[in-house]
Amino acid sequence: MSSRVLQAKVDAREAFRDLVENTHSRVYRVALALLQSPHEAEEVVQETFVRAWEAFHELRDPSATTSWLLKIAGNLARDKRRLWRRRSNEPFDEATIEPLRSLLSPEGTIESPDEAVLRKQRADSLRRAVEGLKESHRVVIVLREIEEMTYEEIASALSIPVGTVESRLHRAREKLAKKLRRLVEREKTP
Protein backbone atom coordinates (compact mmCIF):
# COMPACT_ATOMS: atom_id res chain seq x y z
CA MET A 1 0.00 0.00 0.00
CA SER A 2 1.49 3.32 -0.98
CA SER A 3 2.22 5.92 1.69
CA ARG A 4 -0.34 8.30 0.17
CA VAL A 5 -3.09 5.73 0.39
CA LEU A 6 -2.06 4.89 3.95
CA GLN A 7 -2.10 8.56 4.89
CA ALA A 8 -5.57 9.01 3.38
CA LYS A 9 -6.74 6.07 5.45
CA VAL A 10 -5.30 7.53 8.65
CA ASP A 11 -6.88 10.92 7.87
CA ALA A 12 -10.27 9.29 7.35
CA ARG A 13 -9.99 7.52 10.70
CA GLU A 14 -9.11 10.75 12.47
CA ALA A 15 -11.99 12.58 10.80
CA PHE A 16 -14.31 9.77 11.81
CA ARG A 17 -13.04 9.88 15.41
CA ASP A 18 -13.83 13.62 15.52
CA LEU A 19 -17.28 12.94 14.17
CA VAL A 20 -17.97 10.31 16.84
CA GLU A 21 -16.72 12.55 19.64
CA ASN A 22 -18.74 15.56 18.49
CA THR A 23 -22.02 13.85 17.79
CA HIS A 24 -22.36 10.74 19.98
CA SER A 25 -24.12 12.58 22.86
CA ARG A 26 -26.82 13.89 20.58
CA VAL A 27 -27.28 10.52 18.89
CA TYR A 28 -27.50 8.88 22.32
CA ARG A 29 -30.15 11.31 23.56
CA VAL A 30 -32.34 10.79 20.50
CA ALA A 31 -32.16 7.04 21.00
CA LEU A 32 -32.87 7.43 24.71
CA ALA A 33 -35.89 9.63 24.09
CA LEU A 34 -37.32 7.05 21.73
CA LEU A 35 -36.43 3.93 23.68
CA GLN A 36 -36.27 5.10 27.30
CA SER A 37 -33.63 2.49 28.01
CA PRO A 38 -29.97 3.56 28.45
CA HIS A 39 -28.72 0.10 27.51
CA GLU A 40 -30.73 -0.05 24.27
CA ALA A 41 -29.79 3.53 23.48
CA GLU A 42 -26.08 2.62 23.70
CA GLU A 43 -26.62 -0.24 21.26
CA VAL A 44 -28.29 2.15 18.85
CA VAL A 45 -25.33 4.54 19.10
CA GLN A 46 -22.88 1.75 18.26
CA GLU A 47 -24.88 0.52 15.29
CA THR A 48 -25.36 4.09 14.06
CA PHE A 49 -21.60 4.65 13.94
CA VAL A 50 -20.92 1.27 12.32
CA ARG A 51 -23.26 2.34 9.52
CA ALA A 52 -21.74 5.81 9.47
CA TRP A 53 -18.22 4.39 9.00
CA GLU A 54 -19.45 2.14 6.19
CA ALA A 55 -20.73 5.15 4.30
CA PHE A 56 -18.14 7.64 5.50
CA HIS A 57 -16.25 7.80 2.19
CA GLU A 58 -19.47 8.78 0.41
CA LEU A 59 -20.08 11.81 2.60
CA ARG A 60 -20.07 14.94 0.50
CA ASP A 61 -21.71 17.56 2.72
CA PRO A 62 -20.24 17.69 6.25
CA SER A 63 -22.88 20.22 7.37
CA ALA A 64 -25.60 17.60 6.85
CA THR A 65 -23.75 14.91 8.81
CA THR A 66 -25.55 15.43 12.13
CA SER A 67 -29.00 15.25 10.54
CA TRP A 68 -27.91 12.14 8.67
CA LEU A 69 -26.70 10.47 11.88
CA LEU A 70 -29.87 11.41 13.76
CA LYS A 71 -31.93 9.90 10.97
CA ILE A 72 -30.00 6.61 11.16
CA ALA A 73 -30.34 6.57 14.96
CA GLY A 74 -34.05 7.37 14.79
CA ASN A 75 -34.68 4.58 12.29
CA LEU A 76 -32.70 2.05 14.34
CA ALA A 77 -34.53 3.01 17.54
CA ARG A 78 -37.90 2.68 15.86
CA ASP A 79 -36.90 -0.74 14.47
CA LYS A 80 -35.96 -1.84 17.97
CA ARG A 81 -39.25 -0.61 19.34
CA ARG A 82 -41.19 -2.49 16.69
CA LEU A 83 -39.30 -5.64 17.66
CA TRP A 84 -40.23 -5.14 21.32
CA ARG A 85 -43.86 -4.74 20.41
CA ARG A 86 -43.80 -8.01 18.52
CA ARG A 87 -42.29 -9.77 21.55
CA SER A 88 -45.13 -8.60 23.75
CA ASN A 89 -43.95 -10.65 26.75
CA GLU A 90 -40.83 -8.53 27.13
CA PRO A 91 -41.69 -5.37 29.02
CA PHE A 92 -40.17 -1.98 28.37
CA ASP A 93 -37.57 -0.83 30.85
CA GLU A 94 -39.15 1.23 33.58
CA ALA A 95 -40.44 4.35 31.88
CA THR A 96 -38.22 7.12 33.11
CA ILE A 97 -37.44 10.56 31.89
CA GLU A 98 -34.12 10.84 33.57
CA PRO A 99 -33.52 14.56 33.12
CA LEU A 100 -36.71 15.38 34.96
CA ARG A 101 -35.39 13.63 38.02
CA SER A 102 -32.70 16.27 38.41
CA LEU A 103 -35.47 18.73 39.24
CA LEU A 104 -35.80 16.88 42.51
CA SER A 105 -32.36 17.87 43.78
CA PRO A 106 -31.29 21.18 42.27
CA GLU A 107 -27.61 21.90 42.80
CA GLY A 108 -26.37 25.05 44.48
CA THR A 109 -29.68 26.09 46.02
CA ILE A 110 -30.51 26.16 49.69
CA GLU A 111 -34.15 25.55 50.32
CA SER A 112 -36.24 25.34 53.42
CA PRO A 113 -37.74 21.89 54.04
CA ASP A 114 -41.16 23.22 52.99
CA GLU A 115 -39.77 24.63 49.73
CA ALA A 116 -37.99 21.38 49.03
CA VAL A 117 -41.20 19.41 49.54
CA LEU A 118 -43.12 21.78 47.27
CA ARG A 119 -40.46 21.63 44.57
CA LYS A 120 -40.42 17.85 44.75
CA GLN A 121 -44.20 17.71 44.44
CA ARG A 122 -44.17 20.01 41.42
CA ALA A 123 -41.32 18.18 39.76
CA ASP A 124 -43.17 14.91 40.32
CA SER A 125 -46.26 16.45 38.79
CA LEU A 126 -44.32 17.63 35.75
CA ARG A 127 -42.64 14.26 35.35
CA ARG A 128 -45.95 12.39 35.64
CA ALA A 129 -47.54 14.75 33.15
CA VAL A 130 -44.79 14.23 30.55
CA GLU A 131 -44.73 10.47 31.10
CA GLY A 132 -48.49 10.41 30.72
CA LEU A 133 -48.38 11.90 27.23
CA LYS A 134 -48.78 9.54 24.32
CA GLU A 135 -45.47 8.47 22.85
CA SER A 136 -45.38 10.67 19.76
CA HIS A 137 -46.08 13.73 21.93
CA ARG A 138 -43.67 12.75 24.70
CA VAL A 139 -40.80 12.24 22.26
CA VAL A 140 -41.14 15.65 20.58
CA ILE A 141 -41.46 17.38 23.96
CA VAL A 142 -38.32 15.67 25.29
CA LEU A 143 -36.29 16.32 22.12
CA ARG A 144 -37.34 19.95 21.86
CA GLU A 145 -37.55 21.10 25.47
CA ILE A 146 -34.90 19.02 27.20
CA GLU A 147 -32.50 18.17 24.41
CA GLU A 148 -32.99 21.57 22.75
CA MET A 149 -32.95 20.12 19.26
CA THR A 150 -34.08 22.22 16.31
CA TYR A 151 -37.25 21.40 14.39
CA GLU A 152 -35.09 20.24 11.49
CA GLU A 153 -33.08 17.86 13.67
CA ILE A 154 -36.22 16.41 15.22
CA ALA A 155 -37.70 15.98 11.74
CA SER A 156 -34.59 14.05 10.64
CA ALA A 157 -34.52 11.87 13.74
CA LEU A 158 -38.18 10.95 13.51
CA SER A 159 -38.36 10.86 9.69
CA ILE A 160 -41.28 13.28 9.62
CA PRO A 161 -41.74 16.66 7.90
CA VAL A 162 -40.87 19.84 9.81
CA GLY A 163 -44.55 20.88 9.65
CA THR A 164 -45.50 17.67 11.49
CA VAL A 165 -42.91 18.43 14.18
CA GLU A 166 -44.52 21.83 14.65
CA SER A 167 -48.06 20.49 14.87
CA ARG A 168 -47.06 17.63 17.19
CA LEU A 169 -45.26 20.04 19.47
CA HIS A 170 -48.27 22.31 19.62
CA ARG A 171 -50.60 19.42 20.45
CA ALA A 172 -48.14 17.96 22.95
CA ARG A 173 -47.83 21.29 24.77
CA GLU A 174 -51.57 21.69 24.80
CA LYS A 175 -52.05 18.23 26.31
CA LEU A 176 -49.26 18.84 28.81
CA ALA A 177 -50.83 22.13 29.88
CA LYS A 178 -54.20 20.40 30.34
CA LYS A 179 -52.67 17.66 32.45
CA LEU A 180 -50.76 20.13 34.57
CA ARG A 181 -53.84 22.26 34.99
CA ARG A 182 -55.75 19.26 36.32
CA LEU A 183 -52.88 18.43 38.66
CA VAL A 184 -52.68 22.01 39.93
CA GLU A 185 -56.44 22.10 40.52
CA ARG A 186 -56.18 18.82 42.43
CA GLU A 187 -53.38 20.32 44.54
CA LYS A 188 -55.52 23.35 45.32
CA THR A 189 -58.48 21.21 46.46
CA PRO A 190 -58.23 20.71 50.22
Binding site: V5, Y28, L32
Partner: protein, 141 residues
Protein backbone atom coordinates in the same frame (compact mmCIF):
# COMPACT_ATOMS: atom_id res chain seq x y z
CA UNK B 1 -57.49 35.58 16.73
CA UNK B 2 -59.51 32.61 18.00
CA UNK B 3 -58.50 30.30 20.87
CA UNK B 4 -57.51 27.44 18.54
CA UNK B 5 -55.31 29.68 16.42
CA UNK B 6 -53.84 31.30 19.53
CA UNK B 7 -52.74 27.94 20.91
CA UNK B 8 -50.80 27.11 17.73
CA UNK B 9 -49.26 30.59 17.78
CA UNK B 10 -48.23 30.24 21.40
CA UNK B 11 -46.32 27.04 20.69
CA UNK B 12 -44.55 28.82 17.83
CA UNK B 13 -43.81 31.73 20.16
CA UNK B 14 -42.17 29.41 22.71
CA UNK B 15 -39.77 28.30 19.98
CA UNK B 16 -39.14 31.83 18.72
CA UNK B 17 -40.86 31.15 15.40
CA UNK B 18 -43.52 33.85 15.55
CA UNK B 19 -43.28 37.17 13.70
CA UNK B 20 -43.96 40.53 15.37
CA UNK B 21 -47.42 41.05 13.89
CA UNK B 22 -48.56 37.58 14.93
CA UNK B 23 -47.06 38.14 18.36
CA UNK B 24 -49.13 41.30 18.80
CA UNK B 25 -52.29 39.47 17.77
CA UNK B 26 -51.47 36.70 20.22
CA UNK B 27 -50.86 39.21 22.98
CA UNK B 28 -54.25 40.86 22.32
CA UNK B 29 -56.00 37.52 22.50
CA UNK B 30 -54.28 36.39 25.67
CA UNK B 31 -55.26 39.60 27.45
CA UNK B 32 -58.88 39.17 26.48
CA UNK B 33 -59.28 35.42 27.16
CA UNK B 34 -58.85 34.21 30.74
CA UNK B 35 -58.90 30.54 29.81
CA UNK B 36 -56.11 30.91 27.25
CA UNK B 37 -54.14 33.12 29.60
CA UNK B 38 -54.06 30.43 32.25
CA UNK B 39 -53.22 27.71 29.73
CA UNK B 40 -50.41 29.78 28.33
CA UNK B 41 -49.05 30.56 31.77
CA UNK B 42 -48.90 26.84 32.56
CA UNK B 43 -47.38 26.06 29.15
CA UNK B 44 -44.72 28.72 29.55
CA UNK B 45 -43.81 27.69 33.09
CA UNK B 46 -43.58 23.99 32.21
CA UNK B 47 -41.55 24.80 29.11
CA UNK B 48 -39.15 26.90 31.15
CA UNK B 49 -38.88 24.19 33.81
CA UNK B 50 -38.09 21.55 31.20
CA UNK B 51 -35.56 23.77 29.44
CA UNK B 52 -33.75 24.52 32.68
CA UNK B 53 -32.72 20.89 32.88
CA UNK B 54 -29.37 19.68 31.69
CA UNK B 55 -29.57 17.37 28.66
CA UNK B 56 -28.94 13.74 29.51
CA UNK B 57 -25.19 13.07 29.41
CA UNK B 58 -24.00 10.12 27.37
CA UNK B 59 -21.91 7.59 29.32
CA UNK B 60 -18.25 8.72 29.34
CA UNK B 61 -16.97 5.54 27.68
CA UNK B 62 -19.49 5.60 24.84
CA UNK B 63 -17.58 7.67 22.23
CA UNK B 64 -14.42 5.57 22.39
CA UNK B 65 -16.36 2.32 22.39
CA UNK B 66 -18.55 3.37 19.45
CA UNK B 67 -15.41 4.38 17.50
CA UNK B 68 -13.64 1.09 18.15
CA UNK B 69 -16.71 -1.05 17.45
CA UNK B 70 -17.30 0.77 14.17
CA UNK B 71 -13.72 0.30 13.00
CA UNK B 72 -13.49 -3.34 14.03
CA UNK B 73 -16.85 -4.54 12.77
CA UNK B 74 -16.83 -7.04 9.90
CA UNK B 75 -18.85 -4.74 7.73
CA UNK B 76 -16.44 -1.91 8.49
CA UNK B 77 -13.52 -4.12 7.50
CA UNK B 78 -15.23 -4.61 4.18
CA UNK B 79 -15.53 -0.85 3.97
CA UNK B 80 -11.84 -0.47 4.79
CA UNK B 81 -10.99 -2.53 1.68
CA UNK B 82 -13.46 -0.49 -0.25
CA UNK B 83 -11.78 2.65 1.04
CA UNK B 84 -8.34 1.49 -0.09
CA UNK B 85 -9.83 0.67 -3.47
CA UNK B 86 -11.41 4.12 -3.73
CA UNK B 87 -8.21 5.83 -2.54
CA UNK B 88 -6.10 3.83 -4.98
CA UNK B 89 -8.52 4.58 -7.79
CA UNK B 90 -8.37 8.28 -6.89
CA UNK B 91 -4.56 8.21 -6.80
CA UNK B 92 -4.41 6.54 -10.22
CA UNK B 93 -6.90 9.04 -11.65
CA UNK B 94 -4.85 11.92 -10.21
CA UNK B 95 -1.62 10.50 -11.69
CA UNK B 96 -3.24 10.08 -15.11
CA UNK B 97 -4.62 13.59 -14.96
CA UNK B 98 -1.17 14.97 -14.03
CA UNK B 99 0.43 13.04 -16.87
CA UNK B 100 -2.22 14.35 -19.27
CA UNK B 101 -1.54 17.89 -18.12
CA UNK B 102 2.21 17.43 -18.53
CA UNK B 103 1.85 16.03 -22.03
CA UNK B 104 -0.76 18.64 -22.93
CA UNK B 105 1.48 21.38 -21.52
CA UNK B 106 4.43 20.11 -23.54
CA UNK B 107 2.40 20.06 -26.75
CA UNK B 108 1.10 23.55 -26.14
CA UNK B 109 4.61 24.83 -25.42
CA UNK B 110 5.82 23.21 -28.63
CA UNK B 111 3.11 24.89 -30.64
CA UNK B 112 3.88 28.24 -29.04
CA UNK B 113 7.61 28.13 -29.86
CA UNK B 114 8.69 30.14 -32.91
CA UNK B 115 12.41 29.41 -32.91
CA UNK B 116 13.36 26.11 -34.47
CA UNK B 117 14.50 23.63 -31.87
CA UNK B 118 17.63 21.53 -32.28
CA UNK B 119 16.54 18.21 -33.50
CA UNK B 120 18.41 15.41 -31.80
CA UNK B 121 20.49 13.41 -34.23
CA UNK B 122 21.15 9.83 -33.44
CA UNK B 123 24.92 9.52 -33.09
CA UNK B 124 26.88 6.51 -34.24
CA UNK B 125 28.95 5.30 -31.22
CA UNK B 126 31.89 4.35 -33.48
CA UNK B 127 31.99 7.82 -35.04
CA UNK B 128 31.85 9.39 -31.58
CA UNK B 129 34.79 7.23 -30.41
CA UNK B 130 36.85 8.17 -33.48
CA UNK B 131 36.12 11.85 -32.96
CA UNK B 132 37.20 11.69 -29.32
CA UNK B 133 40.46 9.78 -29.87
CA UNK B 134 41.57 11.42 -33.08
CA UNK B 135 44.67 13.64 -32.65
CA UNK B 136 43.46 17.21 -32.45
CA UNK B 137 40.23 15.94 -30.99
CA UNK B 138 38.79 17.09 -27.72
CA UNK B 139 41.05 14.85 -25.58
CA UNK B 140 44.20 16.33 -27.00
CA UNK B 141 43.66 19.70 -25.27
Amino acid sequence: MKCKEAKVAFSQHLDGRLGNIELERLDDHVHSCASCEEDFRIMEVSSRALRSLEPTPAPPYLAERAFRVALSSKRAARFSGQFVFVARRTAIAAALAAMGLWIGGGLTTGLRETEPRMTPVEADPVEVAIYIWTPGGILDD
